[in-house]
Amino acid sequence: MPRSKARAAARPKALSAALTLPLLAGCEGAQSALAPAGEDAAVLATLFWVMLSGAVVLFLAMNGLFFYLTRIRVQAQSETVARWLIVGGGIVLPFVVISALLVWGLSILPDHRQAGDGLRIRVTGEQWWWRVEYWPEGATEPVISANEIRLPAGQRTELILDSAHVIHSFWIPALGGKMDMFPGRETFLSLRPTQPGTYRGQCAEFCGASHAWMAFEAHVMAPEAFDDWLAAQAGPAQTALSDAARRGAGIFTREGCGACHTIRGTEHIGVVGPDLTRVGSRTTLGAGRLGVSLDAYRAWITHTGDLKPEVEMPAYDHLSEAEATDLAQYLRGLE
């Protein structure tokens, strides 16, 4: 913004520029609809910029007209001028503008249900996490994951959205529009990300105490890398464990974690909470709540409810620090 340089002395201007710059930085980033990384988000970003430009033009025109008629040409206007202004500016112009926007909006409305290139992902909203199933073309059973979405770049993926208890909304702003998730009803979303990278998704419909902590990371990968990842994801959990991890696995069994969590290849087959078969390969913990350091794992196990209010998982704060560390080592090693 050159104006802040030109008149550094004019305090209000400098101040407003200083306040605006950090806001502009907010347009970038992993969770911005204004930094599109996919075909669908690009369409929405264009729509936004066109509407914003139009709104700015209308705002300036309306205020300019107001200024002109109240400050520059203050005498009474003829009835003909007034009538043209009312009919032209009040009826014809809004009709044309709204019709054009409606035609454009309706023409892009069906796009969110475009057929995909084969991969389907079923996402179910839980309190407050995401149950994820990958169904590659021709699959008879899904590859199960949670709290993370991975998508192949350059391919169109179909998402089938559902919810377990209350209404949630699935939204990855950098990749496309949002879509609500309803209990007992499937909704659809089709995404074609173009730029590999990591983006952030967030539940966009208030769903209870930890709504704000219901997030996830979306990783857009090169198609070959995605195929390799999915193939690796499908198998059982890894069995080569360090001593600490082996002790942690014992604690996992002793504490009955398997009643709620599945770790494929073990006796733990609970389906209440997220599948933990490859929890160590994910990039966040607790559905976008924490990072993935050993400390984060320990904090999650021992202070679950503090980190995510009203979450169903109890806090295992009776574990000693050594036990919590062993358990954290075990889970973090499940890559």
Binding site: R83, F95, S99, L106, S107, L109, R113
Partner: protein
């Protein structure tokens, strides 16, 4: 509407009563165009739901029927608009306003109102019909 109160001589009162009775019809007429719009709206939403949610009718049939209905609705509204434009008589007199409280003035005012309602109803029917052409399915 209670213009009878300020007249005392009988002949004038009768005349007004007659004029008012005649005007009651055009009072009804101003509701016709919005009613056509409302019926069209209900039929569009109803038939599309029967096709897309209940799968009772093929969407192509619904599309053809609703396109025909939309054209019919627009034709009826155009006819109502034309009639009200004549009742308004703006093209003959060039008068847009009706400041006098005479029966003639009221008559023309109702034509004016009916005409504007026809215009907004036509816009409503066009907007509701657009998805038929632009979306063209149950997506």
């Amino acid at each position: 509407m209670n213009d009878e109160s300020n007249t005392s001589d009988r002949p004038r009162e009768d005349e007004d009563r007659h004029a008012f009775a005649a005007e009651a019809h055009s009072l009804w007429r101003i509701t016709f165009a919005p009613t056509v719009w409302a019926l069209h709206f209900v039929l569009c939403y109803g038939l599309v739901s029967l096709s897309c949610a209940k799968e009772l009718i093929p969407i192509a049939t619904v599309q053809a029927v609703l396109t025909a209905l939309s054209l019919l609705a627009l034709a009826i509204i155009a006819w109502l608009g034309f009639r009200s434009l004549r009742q308004w008589r703006v093209l003959v007199t060039g008068q847009l306003e009706h400041p006098e409280g005479t029966p003639e003035s009221r008559h023309r005012f109702l034509g004016h109102a009916a005409f504007l309602l026809s215009v907004i109803s036509a816009i409503g029917v066009i907007f509701v019909s657009m998805p038929l052409i632009l979306i063209g399915g149950c997506q």
